[in-house]
Amino acid sequence: MAVEPVRFARASFFDTTAYLLRAFFWGGIGFLLGSGLVALAFGQSPYGDLGLTVGYLFGLVGWILGGGALEAWVKPWFGLPSDYDEGTGIARYFRFNTDHKVIGIQYLWASAFAFALAGGMAMLMRAELISPALDFFSSPQTYNSLVAVHGSLMIFAVAVVAIVGGFGNYFVPLMVGGDDMPFPYVNGLSWWFVIPGVLALALSPILGGSEAGWTGYAPLSIQGPSGGVLYFLGAYTLGISSLLTAVNVIGTVLFKRAPGLTLSRLPLFVWGMVATSFLNLLWVPVIGTAMLMGIFDRVVPTGFFRPEVGGIPLVWQDLFWLFGHPEVYIIILTAWAIWLEVLPVFGRRSLAGYGWAVGGFLGVAFLSSVVWTHHMFTTGLSDRLIPFMSTTELISIPTGFVFMVALATLWRARIRLAAPMLLVLMSMVNFLMGGTTGIFLADVPSDLMLQDTYFVVAHFHYTIIGGMVFTWLAGLYYWFPKFAGKMYDESLAKLAAWWVFIAFNLTFFPMHIAGIEGMNRRIAEYLPYLEGINTWISVWAFLLGVGFFLHLVNLVYSWIWGEKAPANPWGGKTLEWQTSSPPPHHNFEATPVVRGSFYRYGEEEA
């Protein structure tokens, strides 16, 4: 099948986005129908908790059908004629599609959209925090809502989606030499849960906001204005998307591997995705349950987390972090895996210690399930302190394997410092900082001070932006020639990489100090003695925002006007480089056969 080039100029806006616009329209109608029914049947406000919940469910169905699932999937169920066209060119990315490569790009743009949205909110928050008094917003309610939406979007729609959904969908089948994922329709469906989740979270401020932050701690999260119910609905929807992707990734690795691709030869990114997918499979249902219990507590109302009727607020924290901590590793495992893909390619050096890297991934995945109480050291659960402090400290051992392998691979390499390599190295430094500050939070005596301060804010931004977002950028540049079929602008990429690296560190490093000086999290207003450091942080935060925008400019510009990319610009040995850029519809002209390791350099070719 011929490669379909991306044409941006030719198709009109409405032709390109017809299905997406219909999805929005039907989604809106569904919402009004659902919430209107509640208003009629129960005499409640259509924008109350129940109205929103039912409206959202109806809207979700309308959205998915409108996006093309009606023609692609539902009509054939009933034997109805359907001539659904999955589209070509850029239009493919805005309608129901079953090609894993298209879905991967859909995830990437959706995450980039959520990242820009939530990043813009962070800019507004920093505008408020330039000075101590509440002067930018009229009410702390607005600030608190933005905190909640920024955090929820960044975690549920960017951190766990961008690499896992974007690169995972696009590259796992390619890297194992398969033609697609085993359940392409399920895969197509999975993406359609992302945008409604993003919208539910992002729109909650209009309805009074969700007050309780991205962690949604009960009982605060089950009280308050009806915007709060959108937090549970949005997070639940995004969880469904992760779960469906996890099933497909594991299925791909089990059933779609090319001949000769034994598990001991599996690319490290695929290992990272396997470890991540098992974590999703195990723990997303737990947070899904928690989210449903939260919805029921608000809507019915049940009393799971309501102490006045015998509910236990801390059970929410247990359920949330049972998923929430594995999630941290869902975010970072795939980033580590990308480091170890990029280092041998740009170091022209065989990967040192493949087995240790895989062992590290699996060890972290296993241990990550038994550390969650370290988020709850200050809640008064004294029996749990020592066990969970021990497991938390322990997890740094398999984490260290990744650094051990990376450093050994770089030793006596021949390093080409192209943008992907540069960003991976920066990501390693940033993540190392985040890991190092994690030691202070794992150790109970120091955590009792640092918990819920800006030290924690600094810590997790170092791990998530520093570790995951920098690696996401590295991956975007690394694989850009493959998925866009074009080359990006190297000088601008390097400039923007240094820009975000410097601005990122000057924004987030001082937050450690602010925390130690007594600044707690999630406050719109602070005491005047903290002003200097906060003004500094805000200024650099704005510059960081500009830096991310530069990357976006580079990617969009290069996709449209970039030079055509060769099949294998970096001399990579994994299978995605052994096909054209971009790959044809079913990935490979002939099924590849694997005869050795993907990470050997300087010997006879694999």
Partner: protein, 259 residues
């Protein structure tokens, strides 16, 4: 090992010595000197933990970043081909790496982890502590001294050198009782009671140092940022005067301690 590789190792070892010494002899002591002052015995335990970990964390971070920067600078190529075989990790390297990281982790769990917890818990064994019942609510703090017959005070006043048993409850949602100058905090959880022991070591007040304040540290809604209360640590005599001025009674618990 060829001569070039021996030279690379020697250079790296030299950098480690220089930067390791700089980190542990200059950088970390400087950070510790600039750490904000602590006003409670239990907080000192927390600070000791932070200081001990700083030596390893900062030095470890510096050494790995130095190694990384050295390698990128040293092994940079003009773009020509392969850097040789590689692909294996030396058993000595793996052995040392795993042994050191395991040793550090076990150490951190025992000290300052378990040790620090035991130290903090010692205050719970103090006889006749001054009981302060703290009620957290949206959005404010109430302090009651049941032994002294004082209820619903707006200010937390503590005598220096006397262990206070802070009993924390919430009337509505989650809050967290935190005085940054005392370091350690505990959450106020609706439906349960949490206890924190604080032994103030220095006199001071919120006016003198804004870190001496009760600050809610757990997001609790619109008023979270403002959920603060003034704190004063005073001498025993001044404390008794304050109790009398507030209409409380002179309690056994303080008299015995004064002997």
């Amino acid at each position: 090992m060829d001569r070039r590789q021996a030279r690379d190792w020697r250079n790296l070892a030299l950098l480690w010595v220089v930067f390791g010494a700089f980190s542990s002899l200059v950088l970390v002591p400087w950070m510790i000197r600039n750490y904000p002052p602590v006003y409670a015995l239990e907080g000192e335990v927390s600070d000791e933990a932070v200081f001990f970990l700083l030596y390893f964390a900062v030095t470890g971070f510096v050494l790995i970043v130095v190694s990384l920067v050295y390698m990128v600078a040293r092994f940079r190529s003009g773009g020509e081909d392969d850097g040789g075989v590689g692909g294996r990790v030396h058993p000595l390297y793996v052995g040392l790496w795993v042994a050191i990281s395991a040793l550090l982790n076990v150490t951190f769990v025992i000290y300052p982890g378990v040790y620090g917890l035991k130290e903090i818990a010692k205050s719970a064994a103090v006889k006749d502590p001054l009981v302060v019942e703290v009620t957290a609510l949206q959005w404010g703090w109430k302090f009651s001294y049941p032994q002294l017959g004082l209820t619903d005070q707006e200010e937390l006043v503590l005598p220096r050198g006397k262990t206070a048993k802070i009993v924390v409850r919430s009337r509505d949602v989650l809050h967290s009782f935190w005085v940054p100058a005392f370091r350690i905090k505990v959450d106020a959880v609706p439906g349960t009671t949490n206890v924190l022991y604080i032994t103030p070591t220095e006199e001071g007040s919120s006016e003198e140092d804004p870190r001496i304040r009760v600050q809610c540290a757990e997001l609790c809604g619109v008023g979270h940022a403002w959920m603060r209360a003034p704190v004063r640590v005073v001498s025993e005599a001044a404390f008794l005067a304050w109790v009398e001025a507030q209409g409380g009674r002179r309690a056994q618990v303080l008299a015995r301690e004064g002997e």
